[in-house]
């Protein structure tokens, strides 16, 4: 799935090209909104035990548009009860049937793609053109991929000797806990849920506190498709229920995507319960442009320019955001001129307008943090080449959280080059040669993603192997196809997602060691 390049191929695009979607809950919207949402537990909508709810804000206009359960650890226990009640039957479900359920989830998302895309945009602030063309189609494909992957996963048997055979079976872990971030609420849910279910596990999932609602719209879509208790969703504050879930002795694994200190806590809780964990954490991904990208003014150069501007994809709220651009000195001026012109042409505003390219940051907290980083960058001596301020938007959405696409020129020792800003802020610097490019690229705590742009295949290969990151996009960026393993080097995480190998992460190996010989060992 490519992003902008494929927009025209997306079925829903031609009819909506100049459309502004009506905000969810308003007359004529494709999305209905209830005033209040309960937890989704055991296939039913269950009010929180404590009876408390919390307001849910749309970052598009900064206004509360519904309430969701403000759950407590008791609600996590209810969800775990439901998951455990469903586990044995789901774990024993035949592979054809399990795969069929995953395919039905995919079909249901696809049938409701426009509705969920608009809901996701309203919930997160991301442009609806992205959710229509990337988030939701990728979520659909993810379920289909794991439906197929689980059918093709084979156990192994080994003939130890002519009468002794070691059989190896994949068995489910059991009930797993999964905690997802706010930046891709539905796609991250798909990344987590699909492999867990495919491997025969039941899940208790906690969405991020700022984005609890779109996943509940997803639950409405699949509630009749998935057996009760296989997927359970509990909303509420991370400090209360995130901890209760992650530290519960009733889960067999914890999967987490988020920030580093929480990742450390997750692994600590997992260690205390002696269970496995997968953590996908932050990044400060380098995007490296060699001088030969400007050897011709052609399609490839155009693609490379877009490749730099992809830092603004999902308003920079992406763990793999290409937030450090390293540009070869010899082309810096000419290349940046082209890139800045492209950035200046970005249309920012109402995310529900299908022509909007950059929407709203997810929360007031994020907006403040981005401002604070731009201030730090300026104090450190970085030059602001474009943007740098909150964005002015139409009066109907002025309570939303908008920040201009920004470029800061500086050096790799600055904090804006070392820390994940999680906003549309690019830190740009130059390098002289390949060796310096590698040195700067790897001078970071993180190692999640990287981009390399060159017309020289050998150099692309050398760079790709030399960069210490879990994924090196080569002459592309921000593609997330199922089937390509995704995960971090260094402190960017432990484990991989998005690939059949995930089924191993969500299974345990059962070995049957069978003797077909009638003879005793002879010891006793």
């Amino acid at each position: 799935m490519t992003l902008t390049a494929d927009l025209v191929d997306v079925e829903v695009q031609p009819k909506v090209r100049s459309k502004v979607y009506t905000a969810p809950g308003f007359p004529g919207s494709v999305v209905t909104v209830k005033p209040r949402y309960d937890n989704f537990i055991g296939g039913r909508w269950v009010p929180p035990v404590g009876g408390r709810y919390m307001p849910n804000i749309s970052p598009v206009n900064g206004k509360v548009f519904c309430e969701v359960a403000k759950s407590t650890p008791e609600d996590v226990e209810l969800a775990l009860d439901a998951a455990h009640a469903a586990q044995d039957a789901w774990g024993a479900t035949s592979l054809p049937e399990r795969a069929a359920v995953l395919n039905r989830i995919a079909d249901a998302i696809e049938a409701n793609l426009e509705m969920l895309a608009v809901a996701e945009s309203w919930e997160n602030g991301k442009p609806v053109r992205e959710t229509l063309a990337a988030d939701l189609p990728l979520a659909v494909d993810h379920f289909r991929y794991f439906a197929g992957a689980t059918r093709s996963l084979e156990g192994r048997s080994t003939e130890i000797d002519k009468d002794t055979v070691a059989y190896h079976f994949h068995e489910p872990l059991g009930v797993v806990g999964q905690i997802i971030p706010f930046n891709f609420p539905l796609l991250m849910a798909a990344w987590k849920i699909a492999p867990a279910l495919a491997a025969g596990n039941c899940t208790v999932l906690k969405p991020a506190s700022p984005t609890p609602w779109s996943i509940l719209k997803f639950a409405e879509v699949i509630e009749k498709i998935v057996p009760a208790g296989v997927i359970n969703i509990v909303t509420g504050p991370g400090g209360e229920i995130g901890k209760a879930l992650a530290s519960s002795p009733r889960i067999a694994k914890i999967g987490f995507t988020g920030e580093t200190v929480t990742g450390r806590l997750i692994m600590q809780y997992a260690a205390q319960n002696l269970i496995p964990s997968t953590v996908e954490l932050g990044g400060k991904s380098p995007n490296i442009f060699f001088e030969d990208v400007m050897a011709a003014d052609d399609e490839f150069l155009d693609k490379a320019i877009e490749g730099l501007v992809l830092y603004a994809f999902n308003k920079g709220e992406v763990c793999t955001c290409p937030s450090r651009a390293l540009i070869q000195e010899s082309i810096y001026d000419r290349f940046m001129e082209r890139c800045l012109a492209r950035i200046a042409a970005i249309k920012q505003g109402n995310p529900l307008d299908v022509s909007t390219m950059v929407g709203a940051q997810n929360s007031a907290q994020q907006l403040e943090k981005i401002e604070s980083y731009v201030k730090i960058g300026r104090e450190e001596g970085a030059t602001c080449l474009i943007g740098g301020e909150r964005a002015a938007v139409d009066s109907d959405i002025e309570g939303g959280y908008y920040f201009q696409p920004t470029v800061l020129k500086g050096n790799n020792r600055m904090r804006v080059f070392q820390e994940e800003i999680f906003g549309p802020v690019l830190a740009v610097t130059t390098f002289k040669d390949e060796a310096e490019a590698i040195a700067i690229a790897n001078d970071t705590l993180y190692g999640l993603g990287a981009g390399v742009w060159t017309r020289d295949g050998s150099r692309a290969y050398r760079m790709g192997r030399a960069i210490k990151a879990g994924r090196v996009w080569t002459n592309c960026y921000h593609l997330y196809p199922a089937g390509a393993a995704f995960g971090g080097y260094k402190i960017s995480g432990v484990g991989r997602e998005n690939h059949q190998m995930m089924l191993e992460h969500y299974s345990q190996t059962k070995n049957l060691l069978v003797s077909y010989s009638p003879k005793a060992l002879g010891f006793f």
Binding site: K243, T257, G258, T260, T262, L281, G283, A364
Partner: protein, 120 residues
């Protein structure tokens, strides 16, 4: 853990605004002793994570930056290298905290603002 506070005799590496100090005191009165750990990346990154004291097991290289309202404030040693030219100012802002951090009162969270005190 290492104590780098002695390296800066005149300027504290971490300070808190009166609002943050007040929130910390109220939280301590409610829950008991606390700890802060500076977060470094991704979705909830760059926020000061506030936990019950001892919730996060420290390692030998975590850096004690100082104390805010009597509560110890730590940072990862690798992150310390990247941040050491800035002073951290802990404040309070509206909205629920992210991650597993405790809130700074009702519907509020702690934030870290940076102030440069030497060049990188």
């Amino acid at each position: 853990m290492s104590d780098h506070t002695s390296a800066v005799a005149t300027t504290a590496r971490v300070v808190a605004t009166p609002a943050a100090e007040q929130a910390i005191r109220e939280l301590v009165a409610e829950r008991g002793e606390l700890m802060f750990f500076q977060s470094g990346g991704c979705c909830d990154g760059s926020l000061p994570m506030c936990f019950d004291r001892g919730e996060l097991v420290l390692n030998d290289r975590d850096v004690l930056l100082g104390y805010v309202a009597g509560t110890p404030f730590y940072i990862d040693h690798r992150q310390f290298e990247a941040w050491k030219h800035t002073q951290l100012v802990i404040d309070v802002s509206p909205g629920l905290p992210e991650g597993f951090s405790l809130p700074a009162g009702d519907d509020a969270h702690f934030v870290t603002n940076g102030r440069l005190y030497c060049s990188p």
